[in-house]
Symmetry: C2
Subunit: 313 residues, 2 copies
């Protein structure tokens, strides 16, 4: 059964990385490919920084900081401390070994490598044998239009202002003209199921789905297309998802998340703690989606794969 499972997982950062980790523990080698959001990517200190991709990378490499869920465990701040000493406003905190990742990627891309190639090289260097695929090699920076500060770069909104400003609108700049990479197109065609991690719909999955040709490619696949709720009991498991829903006038609920995906989904994995609901054209199941401990990841991934396995039998 599980030999037929070829999973493409769409992810943002921490929540997505946890699900990626769980799936990687349940699936045989070569059965999982991960498509990662690049809307968070930005440039600081001249460096090309890809927070979501790196969170997935560090998580799968077993190097991630277990407390934050991002960054390198036990990393030092020698450079950051020196920057602070120079009077720099170090609102984006880059630790020493993490910095090496950004420097490697930036130099390789200056040498002509694509983001996809640089990411693959980093994964290989860190001993990760799962494909981590940026959804596109084109820059598609997410911008957040706020009431108080006007338009902000994503990281200014998310890190500098700790996602506190009220959001009026979100732009995925350049996404409409962007195209998925060849590797992502192949992954979608290869998959026997497509899974959307419990990542933020508007900030992590939204920038992926805004890439010009991706919806058509997904809708063209007659396989289960499954999303997991990031909302449990009227709250987001992590980050600003609930706050964004309220600011859009949406109910903070799994139903709103299902509505976000709409026709892209055939199946929706809701949390057992949520009130049941129905949505046209979607099978909705309830599971314990919380992944607080590493063991939860494998348990939950196993449950999702078990369900999908039944569906594609």
């Amino acid at each position: 059964m599980s030999s037929e499972l070829r999973v493409v997982l769409f992810v943002g950062g921490v929540g997505g990385a946890k699900m990626a980790h769980g799936l990687s523990r349940c699936l045989p080698p070569g059965s999982l490919r991960i498509v990662v959001n690049v809307g968070d990517d930005f440039r600081r200190y001249g460096l090309r920084i890809c927070p979501d991709s790196d969170t997935v990378l560090y998580t799968l490499a077993g190097r991630v900081d277990p407390v934050n869920g991002w960054g390198v465990a036990g990393d030092t701040t020698t450079v950051l401390d020196a920057l602070t000493g120079l009077g720099d406003d170090t609102w984006f905190r880059l630790t020493d070994r993490d910095l090496a990742t950004h420097m490697y990627r930036t130099q390789r891309m200056a040498d002509g490598a694509t983001l996809t190639q640089a990411t693959a090289e980093l994964a290989r260097a860190m001993g990760v044998d799962i494909d981590i695929l940026p959804v596109t090699d084109a820059p598609v920076p997410t911008r957040v239009i706020t009431s108080d500060y006007g338009e902000l770069d994503f990281q200014e909104y998310f890190v500098r202002h700790r996602w506190q400003p009220e959001v009026k609108f979100i732009r995925y700049v350049g996404a409409e003209d962007a195209r998925v990479t060849t590797a992502v197109a192949e992954a979608i065609d290869w998959a026997t199921c497509i899974v959307f991690a419990p990542s933020n719909p508007w900030l992590s999955i939204g920038p992926i789905l805004a890439v010009g040709d991706i919806r058509e490619r997904l809708l063209g696949r007659d396989v289960p297309r499954v999303a997991v709720t990031p909302v449990i009991g009227g709250k987001a498991v992590k980050g600003p998802a609930a706050k964004l829903m309220a600011e859009q006038g949406l109910a903070v609920s799994a139903r709103s998340v299902a509505g976000f995906y709409g026709a892209l989904l055939t199946d929706f994995v809701d949390d057992v703690r949520n009130p049941e609901f129905t949505c046209d054209g979607m099978n909705i199941i309830q599971r314990d989606t919380l992944m607080l401990e590493p063991a939860d990841r494998e348990r939950f991934a196993g449950e999702v794969l078990g369900y999908i396995g039944e569906r594609i039998r």
Copy 2:
């Protein structure tokens, strides 16, 4: 007497920094401005790296590595080690605290600061109250045309290939169209003497003198214009100066250095170890120009200032 001395010193890296340090110890505050070569500047890992400027900065801040004469004393290599672990070809070795300098500058310039402004901020942050002035804010990268490798970026020639390739020609790209900064123009007008440090004529002073409007500005000042020989006893004190002279078919001698400057000089400080020579329009004196120990810098700078003081009395 010394109150009348207002010195502008033109420098490259290590040798120039030593002379800058010596002069800074002999002159009252506000009497020294340093104009620094930017032909060595380059971008690696996305960072704007200015080796000559930083060598002067670290030297005047008392932070320079005393063995190499460049880089930060006692600095760590956490990031570099991580980069090596990722498989990066770390031929240009950036240590942790040095890295912070480049990151600060790169970000400030991305924010719209000029190189001159970023350099001034770094100097202030490091407690250096002497103006360190990039000769121009325009990029004027030095390129080295070699017999074996064709055209190389300066740092590829100098660091990666350890200045071993035979040099056929040197290009100061963009220099003709570049202009000195306002701060440099003001410094030249302000000076009561202009001094060229014992830096490499072709690789350190050459890129400065190639900037479009600088020769005219220097020749327009009726003040002593003094250069110090970097050649002693048929050898360069440091680096490839002697090798470059031989490759150009020049005698490896102070006379060849004086010939390089030509009409720009009124005075030339030769080393006591060299055979005496004459050059039309130049007063040539001999001193012990070697600055092996920190105390030598002050002693030598004092001798040069004493001589200039007599000249401008």
